[in-house]
Symmetry: C2
Subunit: 486 residues, 2 copies
């Protein structure tokens, strides 16, 4: 629907404004079309499960039921169903919960394959992105967001960043990332620079960039914001900012001079996918009140030529640096940081228009609509809004708070409709480390046991089903199933 006009009320603080969507000169139309097709295929695969199972359920007393059910499943879902479940339906009734869970994990597996193939086709743009980061002076981009499923498309959709060997993404409820584990990642990154000069030599002056991403909902800020912070945007922002400063301080205190890290804070409006980028000052410090609001940038630059629009974005970053009052900072960030921010804003313009064209500027599912829960390392390849609730955890003991939030969401989404909660437990191993795969499998099994112990009623009644898988470290490696279901 090119050139469409959508009138939506977009609240920024107390005011609301009408946003117009069109064909912004900086928007990547080809990628938008490709992403729309991908979203349609992947979500269609998940969302076709219930209607298909309803259709199959209606057939269960027909002659030749197993064969007919398989034909319907194959045609509509793209895979067959477990024969033994279909064959015993005549005597014990059709186990629809089991079929539901099976189909969810099949859909997940097919999506992972699709995303991995996509990734291989994007090897070139990943290389470009890597070079761009290095050009901007960053040898690592470590992004922590909230576990909330509405941020699951952060890299691929919202920020349009291809997965590269320089980027790392983790998710924790409320963006409360693990400082100790991030410091370990920093240490490993630095060692690789010293030992191997990869991705930049230790004397090249490049920096480690740590990014934290919080979120809010512009239409229902007090209800559909970050659950971990009671939908209080300010609290979500301050918590993320505090962790960023803790991370920087930890590195500065524990290592000698030259251990410089850069920080960046980004807010996402999960209704529209528009971002706010908080612009660091010349000292690298951030402020809740110094940012570029990209929804505003989109509106202000919609009618400009590509060149003038690009300049306007750059200017918006410069103007933010000159904020006075609460947002006052000490000068502009370094040139590489300015270029990076400008680039992120321009990338996000495509996503703003994507949501504008496909959904009239505001997602119909402004709340939770995740398709499954995933715990562990996450399948980094699968990136899409509301596709899953992702809790990064090594043990349920440490990740209980994150997991509880996910289970609560799915009690509303699934259990209330009589459908089980599909929980994918996924760990990556490193084939180069002897015994690593075995230990990853054992870890997945341990986490499964801990989940069963934490939610005994859900498991006993078949309302929570786990699926275990492991995957080798390199991106796009096949997802390998592990035996054992709860």
């Amino acid at each position: 629907l090119p050139g469409q006009m959508a009138a939506i009320s977009h609240s920024t603080g107390t005011s609301s404004r009408v946003v117009r969507f069109g064909r912004h000169a900086l928007v990547d139309q080809a990628t938008n079309a490709r992403l729309a097709l991908c979203e349609k295929t992947v979500k269609g695969r998940f969302d076709g499960i219930v209607p298909t199972l309803k259709e199959i359920s209606a057939l269960q007393h027909e002659p030749d039921f197993p064969a007919r059910a398989q034909a319907v499943a194959l045609q509509q879902l793209g895979h067959e169903l477990p024969a033994e479940i279909l064959e015993k339906a005549w005597v014990s009734g059709l186990d629809l919960k089991a079929l539901f869970v099976y189909s969810k994990f099949q859909a997940l597996k097919l999506s992972a394959v699709q995303f991995s193939e996509d990734l291989k086709r994007q090897a070139e743009s990943a290389q470009d992105a890597q070079n761009f980061f290095l050009d901007c002076g960053f040898h690592a981009v470590d992004i922590s967001a909230c576990s909330d499923g509405r941020l699951k498309g952060l890299m691929r959709y919202i920020l349009r960043l291809p997965v590269t060997s320089l980027t790392r993404r983790t998710a924790y409820a409320g963006t409360l990332f693990d400082v100790e584990s991030d410091v370990q990642h920093w240490v490993a990154t630095e060692l690789s620079r010293f030992r191997e000069g990869v991705p930049s030599t230790s004397d090249s002056g490049t920096r480690y960039l740590k990014v934290a991403v919080y979120h809010t909902s512009s239409s229902q800020p007090c209800k559909q914001g970050c659950a971990a912070h009671g939908s209080n945007e300010h609290q979500a922002l301050e918590a993320a900012l505090e962790r960023l400063y803790q991370f920087r301080q930890a590195i500065e205190n524990a290592f000698c001079c030259g251990a410089s890290t850069d920080l960046l804070l980004i807010g996402v409006d999960t209704d529209t996918d528009a971002i706010k980028v908080h612009v660091p000052d010349a000292k690298g410090d951030l402020s809740a009140y110094r940012f570029v609001d990209n929804a505003q940038v989109y509106a202000d630059t919609l009618d400009l030529s590509a060149d003038r629009a690009r300049l306007a974005v750059y200017d918006a970053v410069r103007q933010a640096s000159q904020a006075s009052g609460w947002g006052v900072g000490q000068g502009e960030p370094h040139e590489g940081m300015r270029r990076l921010i400008t680039n992120l804003l321009i990338n996000n313009l495509s996503q703003i228009e994507y949501v504008g064209e496909l959904y009239g500027g505001r997602y119909p599912d402004i709340g939770h609509a995740e398709r499954y829960v995933i715990v562990g390392d996450g399948i980094e390849e699968v990136q899409m809004r509301n596709i899953s609730y992702y809790a990064h955890l090594n043990t349920v003991e440490e990740g209980a708070a994150d997991l509880d939030v996910g289970i609560k969401i799915f009690k509303g989404l699934n259990v209330s409709r009589g459908l089980p909660i599909p929980v994918a437990i996924h760990y990556r191993y490193d084939l180069r480390v002897p015994g690593s795969r075995d230990r990853a499998v054992a870890k997945a099994q341990r986490v499964q046991s801990a989940i069963m112990a934490r939610y005994p009623e859900l498991c006993a009644t078949g309302m929570l089903a786990c699926h275990l898988s492991v995957q080798d470290l390199p991106l796009g490696s096949p997802v390998e199933n592990v035996e054992g279901d709860c």
Copy 2:
């Protein structure tokens, strides 16, 4: 009892032999005397608890009971008891379990202070040890032993190694150490060499030494060996050896050339504290069948002068390298490794004589006699045989197997006598890392909750009591109590 003859049967494989103890020229008599005093004081502090509480219990219906009880406690245990427990004894009976647990943790705290002061006095010998390691070509000595309490004196007594900034010690049931976490430690060590040239510069050719320590019992090998391996010495040895190779392979595979590590395997006879050191060959490979048996070395060198004894030890190492048959290797290890092994053997001669003099060559408590369980990071300062059962864990979920072994041991030691199990939960924080202390406290509290959830009956009946503490990273930092008991 210098010059005493002790006839004990010492089984090595199928034969047994009579061992003579005397005054070996290489034994450090002064240190032996100091360690004996330390052992007496510390163990006395723990072992005086039950008799003292019995005495206090007998007084509970006397007039002026609280004051009399405090006087007895102060005199015999060196600390007072909680007044409120004594004062309500007349109405609800004396809560001896609570007093027992309180006294245990007081004894632990006083011991930690004593060990820390001792450490400060040994700063010089720590510096000597550090220089010796570097001279031998090692910039890190990372030792993993079994959690078994009989190895809790490994560094200070059995190997006579002062705690230095180069040494690291962890403990896991069955010596099944965590390869991933050790690789992280290797990475951090390497980075410090590259960035700061500490403790050696990256081009100095020094190596990271990983040591694994298994154990057996010469008098009851099938009963008092390593519980995690069903008291099968061979299995304990092979498991430790497998982890060592996994560690080396992990580093070699994941990092470029020059990532060289050295391996060492040591067996301890927990009856006598005599060690077997498995001698690496020129390629760094180990064999179950190529080792120096230090009990034999002690016997063979007892009558030699210091110089000749030293030469004999060096020769024993050389001879081991020339083993044929099952133990055949490819040449001798490098000179630094030979010096290190010789030194460890000589150090251990003092401990063999220590056990000879004090206990006639064989501990009276050849089995478990731990005084408390400690989980978490362990109080590295407190090093003494059978003082505690130590399980290194970050979560009960991961460390459940190690913890279960400890609880099982203490069901036999304490619960069977009506006494509760004292569990110290201890974590170290890094004052240089913002929020680190708060997170360590939260971690201790999380682990306490998990322990309560895992052993609900023991906790509900007061038969398991936790004590939480944290400590800053530098050795000798004070142990800080955390509120909250289970």
